[in-house]
């Protein structure tokens, strides 16, 4: 970025930021510059150091070395006091976290002004706050119903409130951490338009993401982080998605190829299944689907639209209130995880650390968690520890679980390796039905590729797979058919080849499919 522009063109400059967590060098001498009125994308895999860097910038962490310079109102860059979120706020830095920090029971207006007014004033100055906000909304196009309780608003609206909150506090630099993770494609597009409008008004934005298409669409500059280091700092116009992907991962990425395969017999059938949600409202309303051998059925949808209920049903965690579920044409015992395991259902849970493994137990114990009562692992109530350990060593090797050995505590494994451990436990039983709920969320590209390969292998072996994912690219790459969940209603499934991301996005937002539905199921 050596050019001859005046330095006041920059609003933010990080110099030599270094942060170490134990043996891990999370940030290694990172330099970064943000131009006024520009969108800078910070691209990197999970664990590349993006979040650490932003937490240092925002004062949540203290850097071991390096400094942060922020432009004041006058324009000149001045060092920011480290380790103080309030200093960052005062300097005009606003952050929108991936997980929103809003109070559900307060209105949008109350959420925005929360904490901005003096504690020593007996009442809130609503009038001027409201005028200021309305001006902001008109100028930015961030429209929300200020009087609605946040709890009833959609995710997209909540995100707009978060951005408004930052702007209301006078943010001149906005940091967005994975802002599209929870949005439908249309909502994401709307967000991008807003961001373009905001930068045109002089706001500067750091956009953190690991999705290449968005980075290409929205940013002017891309900084790629890998293993805590800046590996590329490019103008977006001068690069392309494929090159960015390779830079981000550090090697060529094998492409997931789904070969066409004739579907076999129906293995799992849901007929008008109802599953209860919280407060008596059904979480799944009369859902019907049929899953065949050699087939992956993708379930798209914004999170919170019934995915949990569908997953709980097939995992055996929840019994339905009505409807019929049959496996290989026979009724199954529902509401029992052990029953589902015995019926040959392989289950990959959404929250792998909470539901998938017992962190404080050894790797070998976790690998035997579903099978410890089988003769292979226990005899007369006594564990066959040597047999279980030998099995674990085999699984570790077959599934390339990186760990010190079968005795290692599972909590010390990385996310990708925990997922490989769960895949090993599930897939070595050769299940005919597999439920994979967000199987690649939070994993780095290497592990994602591995998960995809394993699922496709299982499909080739003859298993039917239900793949629940919020990542539409993943769904379209892996699934033979896709169905959409919206407010507990499962759409008819469509052949993947005949559906576009745009159509899926509309269906995820509750619209009916525009073209006549091809009902494959």
């Amino acid at each position: 970025m050596k050019d001859n522009r005046a330095p006041e063109d920059f609003v933010l400059r990080l110099r030599g930021i270094t942060k170490r967590f134990g043996a891990l060098l999370a940030n290694d001498a990172i330099d970064l510059e943000l131009r006024r009125g520009a969108i800078l994308a910070l691209l990197g895999e999970n664990g590349a150091g993006k979040t650490t860097l932003m937490n240092i910038l925002f004062g949540h962490y203290l850097a071991d070395r390096g400094e942060v310079l922020v432009a004041g109102l006058g324009g000149g860059l001045a060092p920011l006091r480290a380790g103080s979120p309030s200093a960052a706020l005062d300097a005009g830095i606003g952050m929108v976290h991936q997980h929103f920090t809003l109070a559900d029971n307060l209105s949008a207006f109350e959420n925005i002004i929360l904490g901005t007014q003096s504690l020593f004033r007996p009442w809130l100055d609503r009038g001027s706050a409201r005028r200021k906000l309305e001006k902001l909304m008109a100028g930015s196009g961030l429209n929300v119903d200020l009087d609605a309780a946040v709890g009833v608003l959609s995710v997209g609206e909540r995100q707009r409130i978060e951005i408004l909150k930052a702007l209301y506090r006078g943010a001149r630099i906005l940091i967005l951490d994975e802002p599209t993770a929870v949005l439908t494609p249309q909502e994401a597009e709307r967000l991008f338009e807003t961001l373009r409008r905001l930068v045109a008004q002089g706001l500067s934005i750091v956009f953190i993401s690991h999705k290449l298409a968005e980075v290409m669409a929205v940013s002017q500059r891309v900084v790629v982080l890998r293993k805590g280091k800046v590996v590329a700092d490019l103008a977006t116009a001068e690069t392309d998605a494929a090159h960015l992907a390779e830079t981000m991962v550090g090697r060529a990425i094998p492409k997931t190829v789904r070969t066409a395969m004739a579907p076999g017999a129906v293995i799992l059938e849901l007929d008008k299944v109802r599953v209860a949600g919280v407060h008596g409202r059904p979480a799944l309303k009369d859902a019907s689907l049929s899953l065949r051998a050699h087939e992956i059925l993708g379930i798209a949808g914004v999170s919170g639209n019934g995915q949990v209920a569908l997953s709980n049903l097939i995992c055996g965690l929840q019994a339905p209130e009505g409807g019929a579920v049959s496996l290989h044409g026979q009724a199954v015992a529902l509401g029992s995880p052990a029953g589902m395991v015995a019926a040959g259902v392989g289950r990959i849970p959404e929250d792998r650390l909470h539901d998938g493994v017992v962190g404080d137990m050894a790797v070998w114990e976790n690998l035997a968690l579903e099978d410890y009562r089988k003769p292979a692992f226990s005899r007369a109530s006594f564990l066959r520890r040597d047999a279980a350990r030998a099995h674990a060593r085999q699984s570790i090797e077959d599934f390339d679980v990186r760990c010190p050995g079968p005795e290692a505590a599972t909590r010390l494994l990385s996310g990708g390796n925990v997922q490989k451990l769960i895949l090993a436990r599930v897939l070595t039983r050769a299940p005919m039905v597999i439920l994979a709920n967000q199987p690649s969320r939070g994993l780095d590209i290497g592990a994602v590729t591995e998960v995809h390969r394993r699922l496709l292998d299982a499909r080739a072996r003859g298993a039917g797979i239900i793949l629940i994912s919020e990542d539409l690219d993943e769904l379209l790459a892996l699934s033979d058919r896709v169905a959409v969940l919206h407010r507990g209603v499962l759409s008819a499934s469509m052949a993947t080849e005949e559906v576009t991301i745009r159509q899926l996005g509309l269906m995820m937002a509750g619209h009916d499919r525009q073209e006549p539905a091809h009902d494959a199921a």
Binding site: G22, A338, V358, D360, M361, Y372, R373, S378, F382, L383
Partner: protein, 349 residues
């Protein structure tokens, strides 16, 4: 300065950490001794002498350790499954009450049958008592810390009622106590004319059995998994409620056995001062042992040494035997530090 998780714990550290925790606790407890203007070395010397200095002292210490092993195991088993049984005191008394009811002449059998009978009914009573809070927890989500704790007082009042009323010894000169246990139901003494009885052997065997169960069997596997992560255990298909009930029954039974031992081995009859809080001390024992059943035996011995020795020291130099509580409590804290040191490595910068 920061903490870093250890992937392996060296054996030397695993031994040195608890040992230095005890030393540190003794050093800390020396501060009030200095304040009381007595010689620290003399006080600790007297504690040692009082607990281990003679044949009689050793038998006293072992007799004191016996119920502590049982209640320590009761807590260790339950806590491992995150079932917070604070009610070992009540289960101990109900076990003692049942043993007294059966063992004071209600049933007459020869010794080889009578002793197992009182042991079984006592264990059963403790187990069934623990069943109530376990089921309340599973069915209604009632916090078992509250229910087990409060049941202690219910049981104590019930025992009081029984030994003031139907079970009162007519020959007891008006004292609230039960009739003496019949000869056939009395646990044999291990050393003649001392108070150490066969309950000690049973307690040690129970410790070994519990260790084997927890580490080597599917029951223990389930209990550990349910304790460490109920959600993952349930997801994997473990019968979580059944595991909880089983753990509750075993825990209650072990506490009940502590009561049987005190009635049928040590005292010979039931009174309201049968236990000076063995149920609660069992929690400390279990925590000191970090819920390891074999370590419970050692921790119970340690606590017994401190208490028996402190009584002796108190009589000899007039420092309150409350020092024993102080030493045990401090060692619990230092043991927590030690466990931190075994799980984490301290790094400067």
């Amino acid at each position: 300065m920061r903490l870093e998780p250890r992937t392996q714990v060296p054996l030397a550290l695993a031994i040195a950490a608890p040992a230095s925790a005890i030393v540190l606790a003794l050093l800390l407890a020396a501060i009030p001794l200095l304040w009381a203007e007595v010689s620290v070395l003399e006080a600790y010397g007297l504690i040692f002498k009082g607990a281990l200095g003679s044949r009689f002292a050793v038998t006293e210490t072992l007799a004191r350790a016996t119920p502590l092993i049982f209640t320590g195991l009761a807590a260790a088993v339950a806590f491992r499954a995150k079932l917070w049984n604070i009610g070992a005191e009540g289960q101990l008394y109900l076990g003692a009450l049942t043993a007294a009811a059966v063992g004071t002449g209600a049933v007459t059998l020869p010794g080889f049958a009578m002793i197992p009978l009182v042991l079984i009914v006592g264990a059963l009573a403790g187990a069934l008592l623990m069943l109530i809070p376990t089921i309340l927890k599973l069915r209604l989500g009632v916090d078992e810390v509250v229910t087990t704790l409060l049941l202690n007082f219910v049981v104590l009042l019930f025992v009081s009622m029984m030994i003031e009323g139907p079970m009162k010894d007519p020959m007891g000169m008006g004292w609230p106590q039960s009739e003496p246990i019949v000869e056939a139901a009395t646990l044999p003494k291990l050393v003649a004319r001392t108070r150490v009885h066969a309950g000690l052997i049973l307690a040690i065997l129970a410790g070994i059995a519990v260790w084997i169960m927890m580490q080597r069997t599917t029951w223990g596997f389930e209990a550990r998994a349910v304790g460490a992560s109920p959600a993952a255990a349930r997801f994997a298909g473990m019968p979580v409620p059944r595991v909880m009930i089983r753990v509750g029954l075993i825990s209650g039974a072990l506490a009940g056995l502590a009561g049987v031992g005190e009635v049928a081995g040590l005292k010979g009859y039931l009174t309201l001062d049968l236990s000076p809080g063995f149920g609660y001390s069992g929690i400390v024992v279990a925590m000191l042992a970090q819920l390891n059943a074999l370590a419970v035996i050692v921790a119970a011995l340690f606590v017994a040494i401190v208490f028996v020795g402190a009584d002796f020291m108190s009589r000899a130099i007039g420092v309150s035997n409350y020092l024993a509580n102080l030493v045990v409590a401090t060692s619990l804290l230092t043991m927590l530090l030690a466990s931190l040191a075994t799980r984490y490595r301290l790094r400067w910068r």
